[in-house]
Symmetry: C2
Subunit: 241 residues, 2 copies
């Protein structure tokens, strides 16, 4: 946790930028401050308000029950990455890591989509419940020192997504689909807004690749080595970014 994320309800008065204000923290975040930061009274912690500014929090009181902070929020979180990520839903454990890494990398729009090679059971997984999803996104923000949650959308049918929704996501963006069969090399350091689509383990099936191409995605290759989804996401983002 490189940033302690605060929610409006942690504050004694509505949080406002530039003023020193009191906040209280319990639960998982308190645990982390006690066990990992091993903070003491008077220590300064990096803090941020979910959806808002970041700043410093001075430890006023610390017990196994509660942490009280004097918080001053005074600057913007790191800039977002203007990249929309479309990912075929991976298996639950991999999904958790993909969401965490994408959020850490500053992605603010994530669409999880179906594909022939996505097991139907993944859509029933506990990893897709609101609480588990938002936990991974918050962990990603804490890691990045960021406060702005990504928009996350679920698309349980491939065809309506690619025919009706993808064009909206692509508006004003260059879209790229890494594909080992592509002849064009993936460009580096693309300027301007980007959409990146990552297939399931085993790849999108040929019909899906064709539909994604028709919708406007450019097929590009990232070398002879096919990466697992959780490595492909940071690898391709670094390449494009």
């Amino acid at each position: 946790m490189n940033l302690l994320l605060l929610h409006p309800e942690d504050f004694e008065a509505p949080p406002s930028r530039g003023q020193e204000q009191r906040a209280r923290v319990t639960g998982r975040r308190l645990e982390h401050v006690l066990r990992v930061h091993r903070a003491g009274v008077g220590d300064e912690l990096r803090v941020g308000l979910v959806g808002g500014a970041i700043g410093q929090g001075r430890v006023l009181e610390l017990s196994p029950r509660e942490l009280a902070l004097a918080v001053r929020l005074d600057r913007d979180p790191p800039p977002a990455r203007d990249l929309t990520l479309v990912v075929a839903l991976p298996r639950p454990l991999v999904l958790k890591r993909v969401l965490l890494h994408a959020t850490t990398l500053g992605v603010k729009r994530i669409a999880l989509i179906h594909s022939r090679r996505v097991e139907k059971s993944y859509w029933q997984s506990e990893a897709l419940t609101g609480e588990t999803l938002s936990r991974q996104l918050l962990l990603g923000l804490e890691q990045a020192g960021d406060t702005v949650l990504p928009d996350l959308s679920l698309h349980r049918r491939f065809r309506p997504f690619v025919e009706d929704e993808l064009s909206g996501l692509l508006m004003g963006r260059q879209g790229f689909l890494p594909d080992p069969a592509a002849t064009r090399e993936c460009p580096r350091a693309v300027s301007g807004p980007v959409l990146l689509a990552i297939g399931p383990e085993g790849g999108f099936i040929p019909w899906e690749v064709e539909k994604l191409g028709q919708a406007g995605l450019q097929l590009v290759h990232l070398g002879a080595r096919v990466l697992r989804v959780e490595a492909a996401v940071p690898f391709a983002i670094a390449r494009l970014g």
Copy 2:
């Protein structure tokens, strides 16, 4: 598994390039062919000889006990990446993923080192036994369609590593250490041999950063967002590669 890796002892006669030869597979690999590939007699599988060529294997017989293949090895595995990876030993689960991803990415030299922020207990982990290590490396090769295992070395003390061994690893290479405090941006698409050093969660301590810098590593930053080790490895490799 994008490639079925064969060992010399799987072959009826010593394997040789360009000839059709019979090989037998059991255990985990047989399981995978049965459950995931769902191959049948006559199907062609991508195969490779550990440390050798890749090619095709035609299924001659397939039962829950054994797979018999007619193997023809006829081409080289994908080229290696001329990148040496030095990583502060992560916790066991993360180590497994880092080894898998690095191997998939074509890294052929991996040094796991100690650092103040590496918990001593990690050096006693089951993840560091020969069998577990080689399993992760083989999984990485299978994913990449590669056959050449990386060299892996363990360095349980930071100071002897940085003072006596790092200069040898750096010979003829540019070395980079991503550090959020660095003023120089990490270069893109560096040509020639590279060494990449990745710190532990929380980073190398200042004294370690200084020692690594004195040994010849260039401090570079990868943006305001600090990534977890398992994401930092593919991200930084893509950036440099």
